[in-house]
């Protein structure tokens, strides 16, 4: 690659298609077509153009190209927070699929804030992105703003979806997963199983609670709302809720989140419980720490990377259906009633 001093110093002085055209004594349109591989340009000139472009260090201006073509190769992803392991994995999966298809990824985090979500949607619309992959913030209760802002921009929702919004959705098998987790606790012999239920503003948590309830009722256990703890999502709230659950006589908990489960472990270690013989726990979301901590947590693996891949593919293929990503029950120490945690 030849490197021109002026190109190096001033970004504004980059070689354009017109520069190449002038250098070859032809018109910009031919250069454009040559570079695009249009069959209407002679092999000979195509080669000459490509050679000259290389020589002059030409790099296409995709901004201009996008403007003219009225479309961009950017996909926007809106998520609550990037550094949540679940979301960073989703992004990882989505990015690799999209990148292979020639798209790039613009990231916006809402930090669970409705206003930030609105702003992010507007920003992406203003960039005229090719599509949006969205997992809404916990403080958004309906998809009205999404439809209003996005209009016709293709939308794929994942994990946290608004049921009132049409279009592609990628969701975990929340109900089924929670059912399996709760059933596992029941089959392990636990007698009074509470739930850390999360926020009911999110469909995902509603479904998990439903699965928990179904498992109880299918096994002849009563559904007792007094041992269902809402709005638990972080370690501290999980801890507080678990303390109450212990007082209420629970011997196991199904947690809709991973961090709340961490708080639950804090609570029952504090209360002197020693192993899964005393207290059972299954958490949703197989964050990496769950398998490494002590006691290791039984979890539902949501396959976030695959979810990201599926979301990206749904966008690429223009799908509008709902795909359910299975949740895999991973049994570890925290629900293994037959053995103690600590050998």
């Amino acid at each position: 690659m030849v490197f021109y001093a002026n190109v190096c110093i001033f970004a504004s002085e980059m070689t354009t298609i017109t520069d190449i055209a002038k250098a070859l004594g032809i018109t910009p349109s031919t250069v454009s077509r040559a570079l695009a591989g249009n069959p209407r340009v002679k092999e000979e000139t195509r080669l000459a153009v490509k050679k000259k472009a290389e020589e002059m260090g030409y790099e296409p201006n995709v901004v201009a190209s996008n403007l003219r073509k009225g479309q961009s190769r950017i996909v926007g992803i809106i998520i609550p927070r990037i550094h949540r392991e679940f979301f960073s994995n989703v992004i990882g999966g989505a990015e690799s699929v999209l990148n292979r298809a020639g798209y790039n990824v613009l990231i916006c985090q809402t930090l669970e804030n409705y206003e930030a979500e609105v702003k992010a949607l507007k920003t992406l619309k203003n960039y005229r992105v090719a599509g949006v992959l969205l997992s809404h913030s916990i403080s958004s209760t309906s998809g009205k703003h999404v439809k209003e802002i996005l209009g016709s921009t293709p939308l794929v929702q994942f994990d946290r979806v608004f049921p009132d919004l049409p279009g592609a959705k990628i969701v975990g098998a929340n109900c089924e997963g929670a059912y399996k987790a709760t059933m596992h606790l029941i089959e392990s012999g636990y007698k009074r199983i509470g739930a850390l239920a999360g926020y009911m503003t999110s469909q995902a948590y509603v479904e998990r609670l439903a699965g928990y309830r179904m498992a109880l009722e299918a096994s002849g256990f009563p559904y007792d709302n007094s041992i269902v703890y809402y709005n638990t999502i972080v370690r501290e709230t999980g801890y507080q809720a678990a303390l109450k659950a212990i007082e209420a006589g629970c011997d196991a908990l199904y947690s809709s989140g991973a961090f709340s489960a961490l708080g639950a472990v804090d609570a029952f270690l504090e209360k002197g419980f020693k192993g899964a013989n005393d207290f059972g726990l299954v958490a949703t979301s197989n964050e990496s720490f769950t398998g490494l901590m002590s006691p290791s947590l039984s979890t539902l693996n949501q396959h976030p990377f695959e979810m990201g891949e599926a979301a990206a593919r749904a966008f690429l293929e223009g799908r509008t259906d709902t795909q359910v990503i299975p949740m895999e029950l991973i049994i570890r120490q925290s629900s293994n009633k037959n053995n103690k945690w600590l050998k």
Copy 2:
């Protein structure tokens, strides 16, 4: 917000500045100035324009704006992988600072692949991004390609930096951190301290190794290259290296990474070690699992979120110096020689 049917159905039929101008019987230039808050337009018309814009659901086309202005409000971030906790935290920090300053973030992951890095750099250049935040892939050995492709585009390097490249750099206090970690092991009474050194193609790892060596030599220990294990970065290679270290008679390890330390724990649990009395370990990178696993790992916290913030600020302020983010030694069970891990 009034919602026009056509706007909703066809993305191409969005209201433009010209539409507003026509609706008000004025010219696009005035509308543009009005929306930009240019003082040369009358208060009255400014209000009329803003009202009409709102009414018609106008959203600016930033692609056109960027083209005309020759600059964009996008910052590109290139990282090896998004779903590494360290990097997702850096991105989280950078995104929040940049977002507040009106910038958006385009993410590219290289997956430690040189070609992908080159492609990412070109893509970002083609988007004429305002700047690039880069942590290079492990397979890139010099910054030549970066300079060649990026030209005058502002560059901030973080964590893994090319020393041969000018401009802003945000690095961890690698040498100092490794020194502190090793010194802590020495002071705790360990006698033969090996190192899981990582890749010497990366400046960060070179510096860590240097810090390790300095601590040894400052304490009268010999630096013994036969118990320094290179290219350890994932769990498996850490495990293999730790097995060798055990055979070589080591009673402690300083690990330049967190995942390799995980492998080291595997190795010495397998070999029947029971606590820090037997084997000491300090890892770099305070990934969340390190504090939750058993034994919990003593680590060096690199403050990735703050590093991301610093990188973003360095870009915003046009800095060209090198900033060092201190590493904090967090002492946990794995190096606490006075107490057993398991109570």
